[in-house]
Symmetry: C2
Subunit: 437 residues, 2 copies
Amino acid sequence: MRSNLKLARLFSTSCLRQVADKSKYVPTSGTYPQGFKVGGYKSGVKKNGNLDLAILKSEIPNTTAAAVFTTNKFKAAPVIVSSKILEKKKGKDVNSIVINSGCANAVTGEGGLKDANATVDLVDTLVGNKNGQSTLVMSTGVIGQRLQMDKISSSLPKLIQQELGDDHEHWLNCAKAICTTDTFPKLVSKKFEINGIEYKLAGLAKGAGMICPNMATLLGFFVTDAPVEPFTLKKILKYATDRSFNCISVDGDMSTNDTISALANGAAGGEVINEQSPHFKQLQDEIVSFAQQLAQLVVRDGEGATKFVTVRVEDALTYEDAHKVAKSISNSPLVKTALYGKDANWGRILCATGYADVEVEPTKTNVSFIPTDGTKELKLLVNGEPELVDEERASEILEHENLEILVSLGTGGGQSCDFWTCDLSHEYVSINGDYRS
Amino acid sequence: MRSNLKLARLFSTSCLRQVADKSKYVPTSGTYPQGFKVGGYKSGVKKNGNLDLAILKSEIPNTTAAAVFTTNKFKAAPVIVSSKILEKKKGKDVNSIVINSGCANAVTGEGGLKDANATVDLVDTLVGNKNGQSTLVMSTGVIGQRLQMDKISSSLPKLIQQELGDDHEHWLNCAKAICTTDTFPKLVSKKFEINGIEYKLAGLAKGAGMICPNMATLLGFFVTDAPVEPFTLKKILKYATDRSFNCISVDGDMSTNDTISALANGAAGGEVINEQSPHFKQLQDEIVSFAQQLAQLVVRDGEGATKFVTVRVEDALTYEDAHKVAKSISNSPLVKTALYGKDANWGRILCATGYADVEVEPTKTNVSFIPTDGTKELKLLVNGEPELVDEERASEILEHENLEILVSLGTGGGQSCDFWTCDLSHEYVSINGDYRS
């Protein structure tokens, strides 16, 4: 058995790991928010010597911050520490974020909390935050190991004094430094205009890559130079996360460290945006579509993924119902292996729809594949009756990296949800079945 | 990619598919309940020409029957028809069960219901049931295809008139005829004594083997010659199913056809057992442990499984909480791939515990591996603090086919649940990623 497994790993490493060139998802330039300095550094916590320490720092005092955290009962130390800081400061005057990769500082008891607090305090001192703890801390990497504080402590001054900046390379380094088993850094940026003022938005994320042994963390960051009231930023972040990072699935596991956070420093000027502002909805829409773009990159980099699939559920009674069905389909190992096998297996899609435990009208349910090249949809199930599937056409559609699965529940409720998932491949098993080493 | 996939399949077929010899789980003799005739027949619905039509028939009129059905919203025709028959007859005078494999008769509309009813009517006529529909019908196999009624209709007389009997071979044929992609037939039997009378219990099941394209059905059958009142049988069946078939996971998908049913014909004599009987609890315990034995065979035959893992969750606030955590661990792709890789990855177990969304006391949580050879347990997490794991000892334990994972939630509630699962292997992906063919 051992030798079979070794052979399997050898096989998958040599044959499958290199299939998709994902460098096209890494930007070569960007347009970044004013008043932020960012960067990455090699602290040595990562055994392979890659960038593993990152800082996002606002140059503007009194920056607004918000975050949403994992609901896992075993919250990592940085999650506990960061949420306390945000609470204490009510989202105001939180000016920097420090992230280390290679060690999750999770299940590390009191010592872990001490390390997370010491990291915050050191960054606050180095960047000159003076009003109590004003830095968020995040970690991703191995669970159950203490942070090597000697390496963090000696690296932070060098990172902050020598490696921070605001050009594309700094942002890219920052994105690289938060990666663990990600195969590419996830960085996006854009401009938008509100009331005649140009604002910028930059985002970074790291994916659910989980080797060695538990780098099971999803981290996401948005920073903008728009001025946003703290409660409003929190509300927008929650709304956007629900429609982006909470709508993706690689394998359905939720980690001890998952955190999505946002900083808004107002450096670009203009009136502070709150829920009553006429431009509230526009800002929210900008951040939602941006968050979706970033979340989709995490799916693109799903472990072993060869497919990027949009699951669109329509005509549910409520958004929550649509989300539940889309999630059920997106998490089904049977659906995911069929996608990997390029099999137009609508029965599995229907099955996962049926056990999602929401209102469905079986005789009015429709299932289709929507090709992403603009060609005609392929109907698989119409009003609960199977179509005679043109298998050749199905194969054509399934050859593409991208696909949309459309399921209409026929309830008359009209609510819909988009969800993004990838396939389940031999490579996924190889990556996650590997011995820790 | 296509050629990689072919290679992957070739690889997995040649190297991995044959790893475990499961013939040891097939009995060579048995002790079967009185007053039942059973058998299997090759109707030709299965393309490979194997046994694909089965009958379980009580010789005693007025046999008691009960069943629990899938909660999937897309119920297959035989599920709808059988549940109506049971309801109409209030669990009395249901004397036979007919099962076909190779076609699930699911998502087949009005035509499918007609086929299921026609099958019931034909069996009733052939076996001499005279008081309205008195046969349960079950199907497993491809979704979205109509049953080949010509083959069923011409085979049923031959099966019923020539192939039914009560010796071991008949029972084994019956167990074989309900298989789809199962690698071995699942048949168990036992004797027990109540009030000085010897009763027998026989059980058959088919597993969650799901190739080609959707043989996603779990079917289970218990028949006994004990006399049981209908409502009591239903209650016991529900209780036993909750603690057996609802405590197993191969991949967490729930099919359109899942059905567990029971017949009790009272042929062995004695007083009819109801909830007030002094022996009610004993009968229930017998059936629970029997159902667990049968359900465990389904996990043993999980697609691509190389491991059989008991997940025991202790000290939860409620049984439901313990079940939720055990299920969360058992369904986690990360836990399952780690088991495949023989990786003592307690972080993933803890992570799946934490997102199960039940009351947990993180600082009192314990995780251990319990070897099945009687040697000492390996503690991985004690009171929320990671142990320094003896990796050599962990590897030793994980080399075995069998393993118990013990998680104690430390809530003081004292409730526990056993759950059974298998690993997630390359072979699983090969089986389910395969083109329909």
